[in-house]
Every structure is written in structure tokens, then in C-alpha cells.
């Protein structure tokens, strides 16, 4: 028996004889490091992504355009006197960069002013859907059981409505298409997606040990929900919201194009595309320029969403 064990004492003495392990870095006095949270990590990561830099520059320009269109053009397209029917469908020139539309109005000025409605619709609808869908998803996911079942079934009813058809229907009920009704129609149809994502994230976060631990240390429901679960579940909602923003902008254009969204004389890219369509073969500019702005804007928000998703997901790093 004793002959089978010589190896053991040898390793044991080796372990004892070896020098004590060096002090862990955390015990070093004066150890100060900037705290690295999920958000500051993400921000650090984002600043180094070309995708993020490009999209945020584009978005910044668009937002300035929406807030102060007069910085970009001296013509006010809301003033009908700037349009001259005699110059209708004039090709681009030095004075009118994008040419003139069917009514002889400056396409460049209209495109710049059209940014406002697109951006307002995009941002407002995104915030509303994120808040409504997020809050309901948080409640459903946290409460579980019957509450969750009822809320989820109701959400599925909304899910079943095809989006453009649903929006057409809602706008038909209101009879007037304006910024408010368009935003309402889009929000009504879009919140279920946010709801589902939030609910799923909350259910995942709810079963995490730190939530159970917080409960064991006396945190109440409200505190658990908003302090412990929400910050850990909100990431996917933010990512989807960023991507949705672009979708809302194009959906607004689609509804306006179909004639149920924003109406003339309000200017939006969808309205411009719609107005230019009948004479597209004669003058492509009035349709292509706002369409290009629309595409670039949607692209910018989707790129931003991608960059944010990558930055917030540690597994993709």
C-alpha cells in the first residue's frame, strides 16, 4: 500500500515550498480605476465604430435640418409665392439644385423642410412605443401568470393586424391624415413588438439570482421591477427602438404616398414622392431627391441600431 503513494508527498512538499502567491492587484493600495459599467463600456466601444460615427454624423445633420431648415435654404417652401407654375419640372440648376416640381416649387427647399415631419414622426413614435410597449412588457413579464396571459393574448390580437392595412384602417377612421394621426396609427401597430421583447427580457432577468437575492434582502416589487430588472432588460428594447425609428420614417412616407398620411400643404418626403409620381417619366428629380433623403435617413438609423446592438451585446465584442 505504501509503495503506491510516493508521488503524493512530493507534490505536497512542492506546493508548500513554493513562494507565496503575489498579492492580487486589487489589494494594491491606491488602486483606482474608472468604473466600467455596461453603459460606459458600450460608449467606449461605440466611439470606435465607423458605423456609429457615420450614422451619428448623418443623424446630427438631419436633426439640425429638422430644427433649423432655414440654415440650409433661403427659400421658404411653405410660402406659395416661391412657386412658379411656369417653371414646373425645371431640371436642376445653380439656383435650384434639385430642380422644380410639378407646381414649380423648389425641390431642394421642400426636401429640407420635409425632414422635420419625418424626424418628428420617427422620434415621437419610437419614444411612445418604447414607453408603452416597454412598460406593459415589464408588467406582464414581472407579474407572470394570468396577468401575463391576458396581456400577451391582447398583444397577439394587435400583432395579427397587417401593419400597412391596419394603419390605413386607423387613418380612415380619423378621416384626416396629419402628424398626430399618423403617429397614433404607427404607435398602435408597433407597440406589441416592443412589448414582446421587453417581456422576454424581463422573464430572463427575473429568474436571475441577483433578483432573488434582492428580494431576499427585502426589496419590494416596485423596487425589484424598476431598479433591478429594468436596467438589465432594457438593452434589447433600446436596440429595437433605434432600428424601428428608421422603419417609422419610411412607414410615414409610405402612408403619405398612399394618400392617407400627411396631406399637402404639409411637406413630408412621402407627400413629395406621392406628388411627383404621376409625372415621374417627365421629371425624375422631384421623386428621386426626397426618396434618396428618405433612404439615407432610414439607413442612418438602422446603422445606428446595429452599432448600438453590437456595443451593448458583450458576446458580439
Amino acid at each position: 500500500m505504501s509503495e503506491t503513494t510516493p508521488a503524493m508527498p512530493v507534490t505536497a512538499t512542492a506546493a508548500v515550498g513554493s513562494p507565496p502567491p503575489p498579492l492580487a492587484p486589487e489589494t494594491k493600495p491606491g488602486y483606482v480605476e474608472k468604473p466600467a459599467s455596461l453603459w460606459s463600456d458600450a460608449w467606449y466601444d461605440l466611439r470606435r465604430r465607423p458605423l456609429f460615427i457615420m450614422s451619428s454624423i448623418l443623424i446630427a445633420v438631419l436633426v439640425v435640418m429638422a430644427l433649423f431648415p432655414s440654415l440650409f435654404t433661403s427659400i421658404n417652401p411653405m410660402d406659395a409665392t416661391t412657386c412658379q407654375l411656369s417653371t414646373a419640372r425645371q431640371p436642376p440648376s445653380a439656383a435650384h439644385w434639385f430642380g422644380k416640381d410639378n407646381l414649380g416649387c423648389d425641390v431642394y427647399a421642400r426636401t429640407i423642410y420635409g425632414a422635420r415631419i419625418s424626424i418628428i414622426v420617427g422620434i415621437t413614435t419610437t419614444i411612445v412605443t418604447a414607453m408603452v410597449g416597454g412598460l406593459l412588457g415589464l408588467i406582464a413579464g414581472f407579474a407572470g401568470g394570468a396577468t401575463d396571459s391576458v396581456m400577451s393574448r391582447v398583444t397577439e390580437i394587435f400583432f395579427a393586424i397587417p401593419s400597412i392595412l391596419g394603419a390605413l384602417l386607423i387613418l380612415a377612421v380619423f378621416r384626416t391624415g396629419n402628424v398626430w394621426t399618423v403617429m397614433l396609427a404607427l404607435a398602435v401597430l408597433a407597440w406589441p413588438m416592443t412589448f414582446r421583447i421587453m417581456r422576454a427580457a424581463v422573464i430572463t432577468a427575473k429568474s436571475q439570482d441577483y433578483v432573488v437575492a434582492a428580494r431576499a434582502l427585502g426589496a419590494g416589487s416596485g423596487r425589484l421591477m424598476f431598479r433591478h430588472i429594468l436596467p438589465n432588460a432594457v438593452t434589447p428594447v433600446i436596440v429595437v427602438a433605434t432600428i424601428n425609428l428608421g422603419m417609422f420614417i419610411s412607414a410615414e412616407a409610405a402612408l403619405s404616398f398612399l394618400g392617407v398620411g400627411i396631406q399637402s400643404p404639409d411637406i413630408s418626403w412621402g407627400v413629395m414622392i406621392s406628388d411627383a409620381r404621376p409625372r415621374f417619366l417627365e421629371a425624375a428629380g422631384p421623386l428621386l431627391f426626397p426618396a434618396a433623403f428618405l433612404s439615407v435617413t432610414v439607413l442612418a438609423f438602422i446603422m445606428l441600431g446595429d452599432a448600438v446592438r453590437d456595443a451593448l451585446d458583450p458576446k458580439l465584442r
Binding site: 503506491t4 494594491k28 493600495p29 441577483y210 434582502l217
Partner: protein, 345 residues
Amino acid sequence: MMTTHTDVLPTEGGLGNTPLLAVDNLHVEFSTRQGVVKAVNGVSYDLYQGETLAVLGESGSGKSVTAQAIMGILDMPPARIPHGEIRFRGTDMLKLTDEARSQIRGQRIAMIFQDALSALNPVFTVGWQIGEMFRVHRGMSKRDAQKKAIELMDRVRIPAAKQRVHDYPHQFSGGMRQRIMIAMSIALDPEVLIADEPTTALDVTVQAQIMELLAELQRESNMGLILITHDLGVVADVADKIAVMYGGRIVEKALVHDVYRTPAHPYSKGLLDSIPRVDLKGQELYAIKGLPPNLLAMPPGCAFNPRCPYRQDNCVSEAPPLYEISHTRSSACHYWREVLDGSHE
């Protein structure tokens, strides 16, 4: 002969007083698709002030579920408590309203979890999380809570607490994280602290430090400590009493030295024999044969009978009650005398 030294009273607090915490005939069931799982079947134990009770058992023995029932953090449904009482200073907590219960939770009875990394919220600094206890329950200002957090981090011996209070959980080592978890749980000076496998996720040297810290904190504040573990080695130095659980029942209750010296249940004996020992080096390590019982299909009679070397015919037909051997000691084995005699050799 074995009863002479076991007659001493457990610790201060004594047997005459009401226990700080008394679990009495507790049953916990879970309804699952496959049927009702009886996770805890009539568990009783007492905890006195200043006392450390080790609850020992393998996974699925019901030790953690009992603790969760005490804390009131079982998800009900699927869990259900059909019988039993959990008395805290004489009041049955199972009869209290949720409101009253949450007043106790965290403030008077607190809990430490096994894996401190997942038990700490990843998106907040540790200072914020420790301070939360004071802000929520004591209405302290942010600044005062922060100060308290640093004090507590010093108390659980986290070096450079003042700087580290702004760090996030993932920036700490495993042992330090467990210290933070401990700091949170003792923040409001609880009367009972339940530590659910506090050292399982840590390496051996750190395990010893954490146990030492827990023992020290307990001495300072005289709280009752329930130490849940599957590791006999961890509890030997710190525990006063031990309750060994198997298949949702307590199979042996005793003072810790008695169990170590002379186990009175074949399962505790098996656990002790399967600890590697220096003097038996080179010999094959003992292992308890067979598998833990399936809680959906418990064996008839004594739950341990399929694995028991002392098994007789009546072990299959009749479940043994908890036989009182002395007033500090009991064993749920028909043949505890034989087991005791066997362990004297």
C-alpha cells in the same frame, strides 16, 4: 456511554428559552407536469441566538428549499406549503401578511447566496447595492448610505474599500464578491442569517477565509446562523449543531462533534467516510453506493434504504421516525444503535 458528553446544552441561549427560529414539521411541494414533487417532508429544526446550525445534504435533499421557505422567496405556485410552521421569535411567519413578511425579510432574517457573481446586480456599483439596504429600509441619504457601505466593506475586510466602493461586481474576485454579498446581508444587523452554500463557488483557501469571516461576524453580533452546505469539511469548525437531510427529511440531528465522532445514521456515516483522510491515504475512497432518490418516486419505507448497508426488511415497509437518542441528538434510523456501535470502532 455515548450520551454522557452529549448532554451538555448546545450553546448560550439554552434549551429553556424560545428558539429564535423554529421550523416545525414543514412540508413543501412543487406541482410539476410529472406530478407533485415533495421536496420537503416534515422538517423541524430550532435555532437559538448566537448559535450556528449546519444543514447538510446533497442536491435535492430539500435543504435550500427549506431556507427559501423561511425567507418566503419560494415562487408560489408552483410551490405550496401544505403543512408546517416557521416561527420567528414565536410568531408563525407563514400566517403573516406579505407586508409584515417583507418587513422581516432582509432586516431581521437575511440570506447569502451561493454564487455571488450572479447574486449581485451587474449594472450597479457594489457601493450602490450595499447602500440600497440603508436607503430603502432606513431612508438614509445617498451620501450617508455610501458612507455606511464603505464601513461595511471594511467590516468584511475588503481592502481599499473607499476606492472600491465605486467598482462593479465583475471587477471583484470571487472571494471579494462573496464578502460584498455578506456585507449586504448583515447591513441591517439581522437576527438570523441564512447562508446557502456560501463557499461552494470558491476555492479552498478562500472558503476558509469566508467561513472564518462568517463565524467572526456572528460572534460580534450574536445572530443565529444557518449554514447550508453539502460539504462536511466546511462546517466542522464553525457549526454548533448539525441537521443532516436526505430526500426532504432530516435523518440526523446532533451536536457537531457527536456527528463527527459517532454518526448515528448510515447516511451521515457514509458522508463522513467519503471525506478523504490523510491517515487512510492510498486506500480506495469510500463512496455511498447508488443515486439520490427521485423525489417523484420515493422508495417505500426509509428513503435511504436502497443505498443503506444496514438495511433490514422493515426498512422497506416502515419509514423510521426521528428516534430521540439523547435530548440533543436524534436519528431517523431503525438501527441507530448498530450504526453508533459500528462507528465506535
